[in-house]
Symmetry: C3
Subunit: 140 residues, 3 copies
């Protein structure tokens, strides 16, 4: 078994959900060095997150943003952590609902995703910078 | 260390939450080949998901379905991705809220779950087919 | 590659969100035995969960509790699993929304978290006992 790890930077994105599958594969060609195993991606931030979902129709990405804004609204009376802006506390909540890491199987040296699956970067802040990800792969 | 990976098919389930712990163990007897490590299960779909929760009282499974329908309703005015049916976009959202993979420790060649824990397949579509899972285990 | 696994007990916490990063590091000094790899923590319970989020301002922890109580209310008419108390079914739902395991990269023998990130134990019951976690680390 082998284990390879690398930190990459994903370019600044506007608030919303973005497919980054191609950006990951192009920045991490080492994927083909593991035949059977796992690819794990971790985001080193608390107001952006990662998830796997439909990577075909771009309206899915828009609907994710609309629904998460409904489920985790800004300016709730019960928020105490407000001094970084009205988008900040909702960003933390959305991050934990979606999660800070994803796992995908590696099979025959490639991401073994379903036909419609892709990796989303979920940017929950109005004005964020680039985001740091740590990619770790392991297996045979 | 060793790493073993296999793709299995879970039979078609109706919409709702289903315990599949036994179905997984019976389809993947290789679990006993890893003494200490991890079992990871990944679902290759964007409208069904996996989670770990109470595996004793079947009303918990029903309450999960009721609550997720409340928290992620169908026919919201802000949904744009609607052409695959009113259950489709909520299915994508529920999938990302619950997640496409689960991790469980393997200890002494067995899943090291808590007393009440089991694996749920969460089927979010009204009329789905069988679902493909990739199981990967690694460790000593 | 190597893989090390240990079960630890986290002392009883009151209902709410608690930073346990230091408690984990002090109970599991073996972290430094893996230079590059992953640390995975699994909670063996169905009414408490784990997440990674902001570990600086304690009001974030309070806002998590407030928001999860709003998003997953007690005493909903559709709950059937009610005999263990009004906090029980919401606890199961919150656990699956947040998840029963977290993954963090290990780099140079340390948790490779972002500047503001820490590990939360999310205690969803009114009167819970200590909680069992299984920590597994692997890598080079």
């Amino acid at each position: 078994m082998n284990c390879i790890q690398k930190e990459i930077i994903i370019s600044k994105k506007k608030r919303g959900f973005h497919s980054i599958t191609d950006e990951i594969i192009s920045q991490f060609p080492d994927l083909e060095n593991i035949q059977n195993g796992i690819c794990q991606i971790f985001i080193k931030h608390t107001s952006a997150s990662l998830t796997i979902n439909e990577d075909a129709d771009p309206t899915v990405l828009l609907d994710f943003e609309s629904h998460f804004n409904e489920m985790v609204p800004e300016n709730q009376a019960y928020y105490k952590h407000t001094y970084e802006g009205s988008d900040d506390m909702p960003a933390h909540l959305k991050s934990s609902l979606l999660g800070s890491s994803i796992n995908m199987p590696l099979t025959d040296g490639k991401l073994n995703l379903g036909t419609w699956q892709g990796v989303y970067l979920c940017e929950h802040r109005n004005h964020a910078g680039p985001r740091s990800l740590v990619i770790t792969i392991w297996g045979n």
